[in-house]
């Protein structure tokens, strides 16, 4: 199955990525996408403080590198100020943009999960230890898609740093069945949307033991 050279890959916006992922059971934060600083402030009041604000749009993939993520915004004025700056930072090539406002969640641990396309084996699903040491640890497990529940459970068993999945720094053990549901959701997504070539859930923050995807990027082809 060679990928055709003529097909085009493109990355969906965070908002559209999440629209695809939500029906597959990937746990996402309650969040709003707005287009004005005033609306951002109102959304934050409804969601509860603190919040994060990010600039998002179809052509924006690397928000952190461009400084388009503002964390820990504690009141309405701070949210409005951040939204103003983010909207001002938009470039013409970014296309249509909006400000995504979401509750700020905390967890001592992060996982990563996703879908990638292997040149020999085709679509694969991955889960691993996330956070600042993710690349240094390289602690990830892959399976070929589609997967069964047993496959997903064994992926978690394959991770080397099992201590990070147990009770950790006052937080409960990672809810393994909940992570398994995320992996099965990714499998279902690719089964129902074969145009999906990659998914990046990074980070998947562990909040009170349960995984929450605070960022999501889906890449499609065709």
């Amino acid at each position: 199955m060679a990928t055709s050279n003529s097909s085009v890959r493109r990355t969906l916006s965070e908002e559209k990525s999440k629209e695809l992922l939500a029906p597959c059971g990937v746990p996402l934060l309650a969040e709003r996408v707005v287009t004005s600083p005033e609306a951002a402030g109102t959304a934050a009041v409804e969601l509860g403080f603190p919040v994060v604000a990010k600039l998002c749009g179809d052509n924006i993939a690397h928000k952190t590198e461009r400084g388009l993520v503002r964390l820990g915004l504690g009141d309405e004025a701070a949210v409005q100020r951040a939204a103003t700056e983010l909207l001002d930072a938009a470039r013409p090539e970014d296309g249509q943009v909006g400000v995504l406002v979401a509750p700020m969640v905390h967890g001592a641990r992060e996982l990563i999960a996703g879908v990638t396309h292997d040149p020999q084996f085709g679509p694969t699903v991955m889960v691993g230890i996330g956070g600042v040491f993710a690349e240094a640890l390289g602690d990830v497990a892959f399976r070929l898609l589609p997967i069964t529940r047993t496959d997903a459970e064994e992926m978690l068993e394959d991770l080397t740093n099992q201590v990070l999945l147990g009770p950790f720094r006052g937080e409960p053990a990672v809810d393994r069945p909940a992570v398994v549901e995320v992996l099965l959701g990714l499998s279902e997504l690719v089964a129902t949307h074969p145009e999906v070539v990659s998914v990046d859930l990074n980070p998947l923050i562990i909040v009170d033991g349960r995984p929450v995807a605070v960022d999501a990027l889906v890449e499609i082809e065709g």
């Binding site: 292997d118 020999q120 084996f121 694969t124 990830v140 070929l144 047993t150 394959d158």
Partner: protein, 486 residues
């Protein structure tokens, strides 16, 4: 390609060596020699340009003289340039399969790749299954067939080998010769122009003579096809897999050896876990594990007891177990009390069960029996056997033998060590639990009574406890994969 083709490849009613040579240094001579020297019972023909007699076989000057319908397998050693004609003559004489040992194909640049494509096209057109080219050959012990250009010919057994490297087939078979744990079929796919590892694996999974697969790969052409074949094979039997080119520098070497594409090794690893194959890091670990699958029952669980007559090996084994999914089980009270009655007070009173030199004539068989029968134990590693027989060897070879009572005690030591091997094998077969014997004497002195006994009772003697632990961990990984899915 069909199962019927593979049946004719591995159970041919007759074989022809195309390009037999009178020169004992040439492949065309060696191939004929190896077929004749290892007891193949079918008819053997050979062709030679000059019609010379080779190894007592009157060669044919042309394949046109081959009796029609008498031969299923051609072993082709002729130069690449002549092989298209060879194939059409073979088809004319009803020969269904050809192993092409000749080089000068896909491994030899642009021209060679074109020749290889032409070879495959001709074979497909003629309905001949072509294996190779540039392969080392094949072995099929149910047919007493050693159709290959290198030694050895292994003892008959249950392990089916398929490899992208011919020399590694020889390595696996050398271990089979040394250990006595034998082989059913073995084949190197060479350039895999038409028949690849996936095809052979599919056949081995249907083969009644094969109950363990042993696979060496460097790269996979069609990953999904390989996964499907591997998964299907693992549903019927354990498959042990070694992959060359797992690291960046290894994968560059593999690219020049077999022209393989690189894949993320972690993807390959996950694919193996998903398919149910166990992955060995080295050739010796792969053979250890295949031999273990071939001779031991699968463990029902991870709980291991270690019985040792020597403390140090017990400690090392405890360390080795902690790096695996196996569990050095804490001895239940009733088992500990039972052992108290058999052993002197200084025994370790926990697992590893260190007999602390307190054994009398029947102690080891009795301890093994007790472990075999206890429901808290899923498998046993037996260490420190062969020590007495090793001392016996020194005494037998020393200047005092057979005086001073040495003849009698040496014979006693040998009997005892053979008996320990017999006990381990009997416990395993009676209780369907794995009992693995490990001692460096497997390498240092294969004639040691314990080592020879393990072999005599159809088991595999591991060269170290760490190697036994690794193999037992692989057995448990496969057993658990089955338990969760079947």
């Amino acid at each position: 390609m069909s199962v019927e083709h593979f049946e004719r490849l591995f159970n041919p009613k007759g074989v022809v060596v195309v390009g037999a040579s009178t020169h004992p240094g040439k492949f065309g001579f060696v191939a004929l020699h190896n077929i004749l020297a290892n007891g193949y019972k079918g008819r053997v023909f050979a062709t030679n340009r000059d019609g010379a007699e080779v190894l007592g076989v009157q060669t044919l000057t042309s394949l046109d003289d081959l009796p029609a319908g008498e031969v299923d397998l051609a072993f082709v050693c002729t130069p690449a340039a002549t092989n298209l004609e060879v194939l059409s003559q073979l088809a004319d004489r009803g020969v269904a399969t050809a192993f092409i040992a000749s080089a000068g194909y896909g491994e030899a640049g642009e021209e060679g790749r074109a020749a290889q494509a032409a070879l495959v096209a001709a074979a497909n057109e003629l309905g001949i299954m072509v294996v190779g080219p540039n392969g080392q050959g094949l072995v099929s012990t149910p047919a007493n067939l050693c159709a290959q250009i290198v030694a050895p010919y292994p003892p008959a057994g249950r392990i089916g080998i398929v490899s992208q490297s011919g020399n590694l087939v020889s390595s696996f078979m050398n271990y089979a010769v040394a250990s006595g744990v034998g082989v059913s079929r073995a084949i190197s796919v060479g350039n895999a122009a038409a028949v690849g590892v996936s095809d052979v694996l599919e056949y081995l999974a249907t083969d009644p003579h094969t109950s363990v697969g042993l696979v060496y790969v460097e790269g996979i052409e069609d990953g999904r096809r390989f996964f499907t074949a591997l998964r299907a094979a693992c549903e019927r039997m354990p498959v042990v897999l070694v992959k060359g080119g797992a690291t960046d520098s290894g994968s560059r070497a593999a690219a020049s050896h077999t022209g393989s594409l690189a894949t993320d090794d972690r993807v390959f690893d996950g694919m193996c876990r998903q398919a149910g194959a166990v992955r060995a890091a080295t050739i010796e670990e792969a053979f250890d594990t295949a031999a273990c699958f071939a001779t031991q029952p699968l463990p029902a669980g991870p709980k291991v007891a270690v019985m040792t007559t020597v403390g140090g090996w017990g400690v090392m084994t405890a360390d080795a177990l902690s790096a695996t999914q196996l569990e050095l089980v804490s001895l239940p009270g009733d088992l500990r009390e039972g052992l108290d009655e058999l052993l002197p007070p200084r025994w370790s009173r926990n697992n590893p069960i260190d007999l602390a030199g307190g054994e009398t004539k029947d102690t080891i068989p009795e301890v093994l029996d007790m472990l075999a029968r206890h429901p808290a134990i899923d498998g046993v590693i037996v260490l420190g056997v062969g020590i007495q027989a090793n001392q016996g060897r020194m005494e037998r070879q020393g200047p005092f033998y057979p005086e001073w009572g040495l003849e009698r005690i040496v014979a006693f030591h040998d009997r005892q060590d053979r008996r320990y091997a017999e006990s381990a094998a009997r416990c395993s077969s009676e209780t369907a639990k794995p009992f693995l014997v490990a001692t460096e004497l497997a390498v240092a002195d294969p004639d040691n009574a314990a080592v020879a006994g393990v072999r005599e009772f159809g088991q595999y003697c591991f060269a170290s406890s760490q190697r036994a632990v690794r193999s037992l961990a692989h057995l448990w990984a496969y057993a658990r994969w089955r338990q969760r899915r079947m």
